[in-house]
């Protein structure tokens, strides 16, 4: 008896050891490690080789956040939708719609900051709810639905205002021009004067949302059911999860985040046009994929998405700084990076499938 127990015990230990050893190589952790190390490597290399083009400045690091605050929020929404096994490519269209609609209301109808914010959230939520209903309850293909949503958003922009519009509301301009001065961090300029680094308020919102979404995905019932539905909707159904409602909530949440992101975009750019935010959905999807969210659903991490946005941001900066005058390289680099990560994911997935 005692011998058998012992044997079982050792077996258990062996199995545990094996699990422990294999753990760092699971898909999420593996992809996340690749992304974070890629980001750090590119940043360090650019600091060394392109230091004279501003990469060694502290402000550069903060600018990376300033430029990408809206994208971070929108990419969070897309990660959630992708974890649930769906997709949303309408965010670029809804962002353009939010910008133009808000600017028209600000300029012509005397909207203030809070009514504009609620208008942006309402547009985002309307897109999310409509698409979520079609995807979850009518079981339409999410890609087709949101492709239609994308064209709907851009088309509605043209119905509201054909020309490019700028914010001409002094209160709003003052608010969006405000910056946070960061103590003790900054750069010395050519004249030897110390300039404090500046951060936009939008970045604070974006970071808060990343933390909030991390908590939502890890700790709440809704967040866990997103993973369950994305991993296998049949078994999620058998676990007693309301699959349709979960899908609907994911799209609704993505719409809400697209609303916030659209508002941050407006806050940053202060202009709106039909062609605005073209390819924003692509950037957001690419950031999620680079951050380790699987397109097949069920796997993903919000911090990975954050690093995905930062990685693609730094790559674009490097490509621009290397100084090729040709306007096509940023887009091609972006697509190449997306291609690399999509193929990497597919290889990892197929290896996993073979294992079981």
């Amino acid at each position: 008896m005692s011998l058998m127990n012992k044997a079982q015990g050792t077996d258990g230990v062996v199995i545990q050891n094996k699990l422990k050893r294999r753990e760092p190589l699971t898909d999420t952790a593996f992809l996340l490690t690749i992304t974070i190390s890629l980001f750090i490597a590119i940043y360090l290399l650019s600091m060394i080789f392109l230091g004279d083009k501003g990469f060694s400045k502290v402000q550069m690091f903060f600018n990376l956040f300033n430029e990408n605050a809206a994208l971070i929020v929108i990419a969070c929404g897309l990660s959630i939708v992708m974890i649930t096994g769906s997709i949303d490519i309408s965010v670029g269209g809804s962002t353009a719609l939010i910008c133009t609609a808000c600017i028209v209301c600000l300029n012509n109808y005397g909207f203030n900051f809070f009514t504009t914010l609620s208008l942006a959230l309402a547009i985002g939520l309307a897109f999310g709810a409509f698409q979520g209903f079609l995807v979850a309850y009518l079981e339409m293909q999410p890609f087709i639905v949101t492709l239609a949503g994308m064209f709907l958003g851009r088309g509605l922009v043209a119905l509201i205002e054909v020309n490019q519009v700028q914010v001409s509301n002094p209160g709003f301009e003052k608010l969006s021009g405000a910056r946070i001065q960061i103590p003790f961090l900054g750069d010395v300029n050519k004249k030897g004067i110390f300039l404090q680094s500046k951060l936009e308020y939008g970045v604070i919102v974006a970071i808060l949302i990343v933390c909030l979404m991390y908590w939502l995905l890890k700790k709440t019932k809704l967040g866990r059911s997103f993973y369950a539905v994305g991993g296998n909707s049949q078994s999620a159904l058998m676990l007693g999860i309301n699959v349709k409602r979960t899908r609907f909530s994911a799209h609704l949440l993505c719409g809400l985040l697209a609303g916030i992101g659209g508002f941050l975009y407006l806050f940053h750019t202060r202009s709106g046009s039909v062609q605005q935010a073209t390819g924003l959905e692509m950037d957001a999807i690419a950031a999620s994929i680079i951050g380790g969210t699987l397109l097949t659903g069920g796997v993903g991490n919000i911090f990975g998405t954050l690093f995905g946005v930062l990685t693609s941001g730094i790559v674009l900066l490097v490509v621009t700084a290397i100084g090729s005058q040709d306007p096509w390289w940023p887009q091609i680099t972006r697509a190449g990076m997306l291609c690399f990560f999509i193929v990497l994911q597919s290889v990892i997935c197929s290896r996993k499938r073979k294992k079981y």
Binding site: F143, V145, L152, M282, I332, L338, V343
Partner: protein, 368 residues
């Protein structure tokens, strides 16, 4: 007796009506007819085709119908390829407009070299067409390998070229915006002395070749088999990956021809604005043709009629002075309605209604 025969008549006409409604081509043809009727209602002279003269004095056909047939060329050609891709891979290629930009860039580069306003063509047009088709097929191979070998959903796989395509097109032209000489324009406009626009002839040729290929080869059968169930088709000795790749290559060839016609229309190409949003129109044409966007069976005639329907809709909206950028709103609404009708939930909802009416009819029969 008379009551009985009356009932039989009603039954028969009901069954004929039912068969008509259930016919594959019912939705596209009805939709097209409705649109044409609305057009005639808006502008009574809509259907008139007349002989006119173009700026150089050559006889040409003029009329709204001719314009629609002419402008629908790219849409029809792309819809043929997209139908096959949809059927075999259960997804759509959203990179067609971007690959048209690549093809346009390649053709312009071949024809104009690195001059912006060359006085002669640098290469024979046939060579440009061939290289354009090759470029399109290369894009098709890229998408096809991602879809068939790496098992990536088609729409995500084609997202890569959707992002990069227009930039690649611009790169192929070296950042220039060359304009080819007028003789290159024959293929997108008129051949001097011949009244029918050349794109219509190209459409007829492509459609004829498609019909021949579908009749004489097993392409259609294999595509359907792979789309319905790729595991069982592989058990039957087909190679699903190969057939999916083949359909993407065929779409690439279609993109090549469409890009050729498009770049010949104005003899110049702006890769960032060429055929904006045509992927939406093409997917819409396929859906309108009664094809399921979830793959499997397909209906080529439906897709072609669908493409003409979309073009009619577009030109109708243009005559109504709707801004070009706002046109997608209407198409988006139509595509959502069309796909919603195809979904199982809505279908079962309507089937229940139909069953209900059938039940009462059956009761009447039994009593009689």
């Amino acid at each position: 007796m008379s009551r009985n025969s009356n009932k039989l008549d009603i039954d028969r006409s009901a069954s004929v009506l039912n068969a008509l409604i259930r016919h594959k081509l019912f939705i596209p043809i009805t939709f097209l007819t409705c649109l044409l009727l609305i057009n005639v209602f808006i502008k009574p002279s809509f259907l008139i085709i007349s002989m006119g003269k173009d700026s150089t004095g050559n006889p040409v056909l003029i009329g709204n119908l001719i314009n629609i047939l002419n402008n629908a060329t790219e849409l029809v050609i792309l819809a043929i390829g997209m139908t096959l891709v949809t059927s075999s891979s259960r997804g759509q290629d959203i990179s067609v407009s971007a690959t048209v930009a690549i093809v346009g860039g390649v053709i312009m580069r071949v024809l104009c070299g690195s001059e912006t306003q060359p006085s002669v063509l640098h290469a024979p047009v046939i060579l440009a067409l061939l290289l354009g088709c090759l470029a399109g097929m290369a894009c098709g191979v890229f998408n096809g390998i991602l879809v068939s070998k790496f098992n990536i959903q088609p729409m995500v796989a084609t997202l890569i070229l959707f992002t990069a395509g227009r930039s690649i097109g611009s790169m192929a032209m070296g950042g220039l915006k060359p304009k080819a000489v007028a003789s290159f324009g024959y293929y997108g406009n008129f051949i001097p002395g011949f009244p029918i626009p050349t794109p219509i002839l190209i459409t007829i040729a492509v459609v004829a070749v498609t019909i021949l290929v579908l009749k004489k080869t097993n392409l259609g059968l294999y595509t359907r088999a792979v789309g319905i169930n790729d595991k069982s088709s592989s058990l039957n000795g087909l190679n699903p990956a190969m057939i999916k790749l083949l359909t993407f290559v065929i779409l690439g060839l279609c993109v090549g021809i469409a890009g050729f016609v498009q770049s010949s229309r104005v003899q110049t190409v702006n890769p960032y604005t060429i055929v904006p949003g045509i992927e939406m129109d093409v997917i819409l044409a396929v859906a309108l043709g009664g094809n399921s966007l979830g793959g499997g069976k397909f209906n080529m005639a439906g897709s072609i009629i669908g493409a003409y329907t979309i073009q009619t809709l577009t030109s109708m909206l243009t005559t109504l002075n709707v801004n070009t950028n706002a046109v997608p709103v209407f198409k988006a609404v139509i595509i959502i309605v069309l796909v919603a009708i195809q979904t199982p939930t809505v279908k079962s909802f309507f089937n229940n209604k139909v069953k209900f009416s059938k039940l009462t009819a059956g009761d009447g029969k039994e009593r009689g």
